[in-house]
């Protein structure tokens, strides 16, 4: 199974004609509440973000570090449901003209019914999904449904993924590849150095898909480092940190510094 062309990939390619490095950000839906989530998306899009991950909160976010972890559990404490996440996501995709993906854990799909979940993604204009605890081997139904709906299943490359497995992952992906630039969970520091350069070359060689690079991107400097090495810079935990430190209104200026 080789990857298929998706709307997501097409949008990325189109955007790249204007910019050499796109910016993807991440929020947790319902954190600190759904209204604020919407406001943050608005600000991000206005600040020039190119695509966004919308995380549907889950009680056991095993691959997430402390910042996103806390956002997940606060959202759930606030009563966030999957239904509300879909509703908000639908408003978002209608309102803003950039690609949005869902990021969540497999149980959310599984309990909704995988096919139903994917179909609904399609219906509300979500263009792809990142499901960090669903390796392709466990995700046949998911992959088929995504393909059927021409949505992008995004998989993850890591520094200890062998080249052969990168190719396998790429074959099972669409839209882009999410390449994590360090070991560990989300939100930890990464030193952007030559070693990473080599790693990214290895990633490039393993896939034809655009390459998003994430984990630990925090500053314009980090973003600039990625220029020429990646297609998309991902800023995840740091925006949540900014929001927590400076309030929702702090997010826009922060993003603006990154894309400046």
């Amino acid at each position: 199974m080789s990857h298929y062309l998706t709307k997501l990939e097409t949008s990325i390619t189109a955007a790249q004609e204007k910019k050499d490095l796109l910016l993807m950000t991440h929020i947790v839906l319902g954190y600190p509440n759904f209204d604020d989530s919407l406001r943050v998306v608005e600000d991000m899009v206005e600040a020039g973000v190119d695509l966004m991950e919308l995380q549907i909160p889950f009680s056991e976010p095993m691959a997430d570090g402390p910042v996103i972890l806390k956002a997940n559990s606060e959202a759930l404490k606030g009563g966030a449901t999957v239904e509300q996440s879909f509703e908000l996501a639908e408003r978002i995709t209608k309102a803003f003209d950039i690609p949005f993906l869902f990021m969540t854990y497999y149980n959310i799909l599984f309990c909704s019914g995988v096919e139903k979940f994917v179909e609904r993604c399609d219906n509300i204009g979500i263009q792809g999904c990142i499901v960090p605890d669903l390796p392709p081997a466990e995700g046949l139904t998911y992959l088929e449904a995504m393909k059927k709906h021409e949505l992008a299943p995004v998989h993850i490359f890591t520094p200890n993924t062998p080249a052969s497995r990168m190719r396998f992952l790429s074959d099972n992906s669409a839209g882009f590849i999410y390449s994590v630039a360090r070991k560990g969970v989300t939100g930890k520091d990464t030193a952007f150095n030559d070693e990473i350069g080599e790693y990214l070359t290895k990633c490039r060689n393993a896939t034809d898909l655009p390459l998003a690079v994430g984990f630990g991107v925090k500053s314009k400097e980090d973003v600039d480092f990625l220029r020429g090495k990646a297609d998309i810079a991902v800023v995840g935990s740091e925006t949540i940190r900014v929001m927590e430190r400076e309030g929702v209104s702090g997010v826009k200026p922060f993003i603006q510094t990154l894309v400046a």
Binding site: F58, P66, N107, F110, P135, E138, K183, G184
Partner: protein
């Protein structure tokens, strides 16, 4: 595409991509060890010199007579070094860790039993050791934390989520995804991603293998029913595996009924109807979760059974009806513990007391010719804080209050 580690629809390995090579390495090491008779021999040698395997079976002479039905036998995992069956699994994983050339182990722990066992193994093997434990549990289970620290382990209080066992598991995975190069995660029960359920069950199978031979030797026949409590499912899998092919032996798994059916305050995933199939913590099984798939709070008087998921192998055996699942509620469990202490001089852990409670219910219905076997997965003497609270002993409270006064006045009294 690899698709191993399934027991009908349950199991699998739902793991972050970064751990895939680590799991491949682990599975390979495990399969090689399993194929290598020298490994199992080394394991048995270790368990018979460092712990006291074979653990005996004890007949409950007084209660068998009083209850008036079957003869009740008990498999004495409480006599193990560190006081529970957990050490069987941990020592096996210790040997594997050495094989894989790793120098650090991490583990989750709820009540602290698995944490103590892992810290012990790390001390013995000379590994660095970090134990993740929900902050609530750290506060409640200081004695176990104390011993883990004495063993040289670092105990990290997990302040995320519900601050209990499942959160400790998540946190251990978070450590692992960072430190997989030198670190092995010694998961404590027959849950989690493949190969853990199978591998932990394999190490624990020493219980069932011994018990079957011992029952035959002692009574000349197999028991009619065998009982084990079910938290994650490792002691149950360990015992049951010895009798899996003996059709005449009924296997009974006893879960934490907590405050009872319908209260929402329990940890009965298979005995009650509240759990549904889901995927979390790396594997597919029955979970106590809401309709969205969010894990729910559970409750049990015994921290070791207070867990949202259950071994995928047991979910499978539940569906095939090879194992019958029951739940004992908190009150029944405390009563069964007290009866066992008073009439037989055995102190079953609150976890194990679930199995005793169910066996005591059923023994009178059997005939004098029947034998039943209960897995005493651990001893309760280390859980005195919990037990004393469960039975609300006023003298204990007084003792603690006086002790605290002494400390506040700066006296070790």
């Amino acid at each position: 595409m690899r698709n191993t580690g399934y027991y009908s629809q349950f199991g699998g390995a739902f793991i972050p991509e970064i751990l895939v090579p680590t799991f491949d390495e682990l599975e390979t090491a495990y399969l090689q060890a399993k194929d290598d008779p020298a490994f199992w021999a080394e394991y048995l040698e270790l368990m018979s010199t460092y712990s006291c395997r074979a653990t005996p079976i004890t007949r409950l002479d007084n209660l068998s007579e009083e209850l008036g039905g079957a003869s009740i036998y008990v498999k004495r995992e409480d006599l193990n070094h560190t006081g529970a069956h957990k050490v069987n699994n941990v020592m096996g994983q210790g040997l594997l860790t050495k094989r894989m050339g790793k120098t650090r182990v991490i583990a989750e722990t709820g009540a602290g039993q698995h944490g103590v066992a892992t810290a012990t193994m790390a001390a013995k093997f000379g590994f660095d050791c970090t134990i993740y434990m929900g902050a609530h549990d750290v506060a409640r289970q200081r004695p176990n934390v104390f011993w883990m620290e004495q063993m040289g382990a670092e105990v990290i209080a997990v302040t995320e989520g519900s601050q209990t066992l499942k959160d400790a598991i998540n946190e251990a995975f978070r450590d692992w995804v960072t430190n997989m190069d030198n670190t092995h995660y010694a998961l404590g029960t027959a849950c989690g991603p493949h190969p853990f359920p199978e591998m932990v069950s394999w190490f624990q199978s020493v219980i069932g293998t011994e018990a079957r031979a011992q029952m035959l030797e002692r009574t000349g026949k197999l028991p009619s029913k065998v009982y084990a409590c079910v938290g994650g499912g490792s002691n149950a899998m360990g015992l049951f595996s010895g009798f899996m092919d003996d059709d005449g032996v009924e296997l009974v798994g006893v879960e934490a009924g907590g405050r009872g059916r319908g209260t929402g305050q329990h940890a009965a995933r298979l005995a009650y109807d509240d759990a549904t199939i889901g995927v979390a913590q790396g594997y597919k099984t029955f979970f106590l979760q809401d309709r969205d798939g969010q894990m729910q709070d559970t409750h049990s008087v015994s921290a070791g059974l207070d867990y949202v998921g259950v071994s995928p192998i047991l979910s499978h055996l539940h569906e095939t009806k090879r194992v019958r699942f029951e739940a004992a509620n908190d009150n029944e469990v405390v009563a069964a513990m007290q009866t066992t202490v008073r009439r037989e001089g055995l102190i079953p852990a609150l976890e194990s007391s679930h199995a005793f409670a169910q066996a005591y219910l059923e023994a009178p219905k059997l005939s004098k010719d029947d034998n039943i076997l209960i897995n005493m997965s651990g001893r309760a003497d280390k859980d005195i804080f919990t037990v004393a609270d469960a039975i609300e002993d006023p003298k204990w409270r007084e003792f603690i209050i006086n002790k605290a006064k002494g400390y506040q006045q700066g006296i070790n009294q």
